[in-house]
């Protein structure tokens, strides 16, 4: 469970042509990133997958069922943590399954909070946490949902360099335990290469899929990878793709 497919999806708002025949897929347990210039319609792809808007043409399907304009099939982690300030950490993490109407598994929630290094903060309120901690809560909230695929929308872009690297490593370690399918939007090539199995490169507006890069690096990946030659070669390749 957790195979997401987009086939020839196009979308325009009035005369503003945003997406042109986008096709991509995320296999079960796969980590796929979408990189593209800013304003290339990356977030529009998520809005279509989330069912907020209907694509003009093409189909979006999850495990064979068509999802066009139907909501509640994905889990989501936004750019800002968007934690609810009146809920404790525990209640925030439970929100995603609460909305989905699935049964709460308190033991699993506690386990997730522990894996985020936030044991002892279960009853803390978000304004008592640091930026990085909030993002971790936001991520385990999306993991706690019953849906099999998680969409992450530039989740680390507001963090400083060191916290970001720490968060990326933490994200990989926790994802390797839970193995959900992930679709990840970023404009940071390093981040995409470090995290993904596959990278989808989008063009400027109207966005088309320029290329699909398979990331060959073994898991589990460590920080040193970021400075290795094969990594840098691949980075240059993607950079040139984005440049046109």
């Amino acid at each position: 469970m957790g195979q997401l497919t987009l086939e020839n999806v196009s979308k325009s708002y009035g005369s503003n042509h945003v997406l042109q025949e986008i096709s991509l897929s995320v296999k079960e347990g796969e980590f796929v990133s979408i990189v593209g210039p800013s304003g290339s319609g990356k977030s529009t792809i998520f809005q279509l997958i989330g069912g907020l808007y209907t694509p003009d043409s093409g189909t979006i399907s999850l495990d064979g069922t068509v999802l066009n304009n139907s909501r509640g099939h994905i889990s989501y982690m936004p750019q800002s943590p968007a934690l609810f300030p009146w809920r404790t950490v525990l209640q925030n993490v439970e929100l995603s399954s609460e909305i989905a109407g699935s049964k709460q598994d308190r033991a699993k929630t506690i386990e997730l909070i522990k894996s985020a290094g936030l044991s002892g903060y279960e009853n803390a309120y978000p304004n008592e946490l640091s930026g990085g901690m909030k993002q971790r809560v936001s991520f385990i909230r999306s993991l706690n949902a019953p849906q099999s695929i998680i969409c992450l929308d530039e989740p680390f872009s507001a963090l400083d360099e060191f916290t970001r690297l720490e968060m990326q490593q933490w994200l990989l370690s926790i994802w390797e335990t839970y193995k959900k399918s992930i679709l990840f939007i970023t404009h940071d090539i390093d981040e995409a290469l470090f995290l993904s199995d596959r990278i989808i490169v989008l063009s400027d507006k109207p966005a088309v899929v320029k290329d699909e890069v398979i990331v060959p690096f073994e898991r589990s990946r460590s920080e040193e990878l970021l400075m290795s030659d094969p990594f840098l070669t691949l980075k240059r390749e993607i950079y040139n793709l984005l440049r046109g």
């Binding site: 069912g51 907020l52 936004p78 800002s80 943590p81 300030p85 009146w86 909305i99 304004n127 949902a145």
Partner: protein, 261 residues
């Protein structure tokens, strides 16, 4: 508790100072008691005349509390209906404003003509002054929800009902409590006004009797009673607010995107 004492001594000092000035100025210029009684005279009347107003307090207390509870319930229900049903909002919002433009003093005698001298017209007066600040405060709170949180809920497929109860309602509480506090003080005022119109008990009645017989010290006793009653209501709401909005007082760094004034 300690911080309350720390903050409280300044206004208390100013208050005592004012009383001292009043007392000495009135004595110095020999102002007659029926024109402006001395603070000490008022205090004396408050003690010795306790049996004269004790029963009136209970009556006003019951009336204002009933009116307040009904008023805020109506206020909250109206706010939710107007917010959840856009058609109702378009149709009734202007009417809501108009309802506040009719002076209560004009409306009250009409209510007595229609509903008699019982409890009902008085409760209606209090409801009319109480519901409006609550409705406006709640509507403001509902409308100013955090966009990131709203977007998050929509992306994970929350229904409108879920969005309302899990986001818009809790988000509006700080704003709603401002309205509840305003309404609390209004409710006592509304009760006293409605008692002027014809009642046999209540601080309003006590006040009318006192002023028509030039017992000015008793009028001041009534004013003090009204202030104490209003402050008590205000304090109760403040305490409820503190316990409901516990999350606001914890922690220091407000960088979650949720900014409340």
């Amino acid at each position: 508790m300690k911080s309350a004492v720390n903050k409280g001594w300044r206004p208390l000092l100013v208050f005592i100072l004012l009383l001292v000035i009043w007392e000495s100025a009135a004595r110095l210029f020999d102002v007659p008691g029926w024109l402006l009684p001395l603070p000490t005279q008022i205090a004396k009347e408050a003690f010795t005349g306790y049996s004269l107003y004790a029963s009136h307090i209970m009556s006003t207390l019951t009336l204002s509390a009933t009116g307040y509870v009904v008023g805020i319930t109506v206020g909250i229900v109206v706010a939710i209906l107007l917010f959840r049903v856009p058609f109702l909002q378009q149709a009734f919002y202007p009417l809501l404003i108009v309802s506040q433009n009719i002076p209560i003093i004009v409306l009250a005698p009409l209510l007595v003509i229609w509903f008699g001298f019982g409890m009902l017209p008085k409760v209606i007066v209090i409801v009319l002054v109480c519901f409006f600040p609550v409705t406006i405060a709640a509507l403001d709170g509902f409308r100013q929800t955090d966009r990131d949180m709203l977007y998050y809920l929509k992306m994970i497929g929350a229904s409108n009902r879920q969005i309302f109860w899990k986001l818009q309602w809790p988000h509006s509480l700080p704003s709603l409590f401002s309205g509840l506090k305003i309404a609390a003080t209004y409710s006592v005022m509304g009760a006293v006004i409605s008692e002027w119109l014809g009642a046999n008990k209540g601080i309003g009645v006590y006040m009318t009797l006192a002023s028509s017989s030039f017992k000015t010290d008793r009028v001041f006793v009534a004013i003090v009673l009204i202030i104490i009653l209003s402050l008590t209501y205000f304090g109760i709401i403040l305490a409820v607010e503190k316990s409901v909005l516990r999350w606001r007082s914890k922690g220091g760094n407000e960088s979650n995107g949720a900014t409340h004034s």
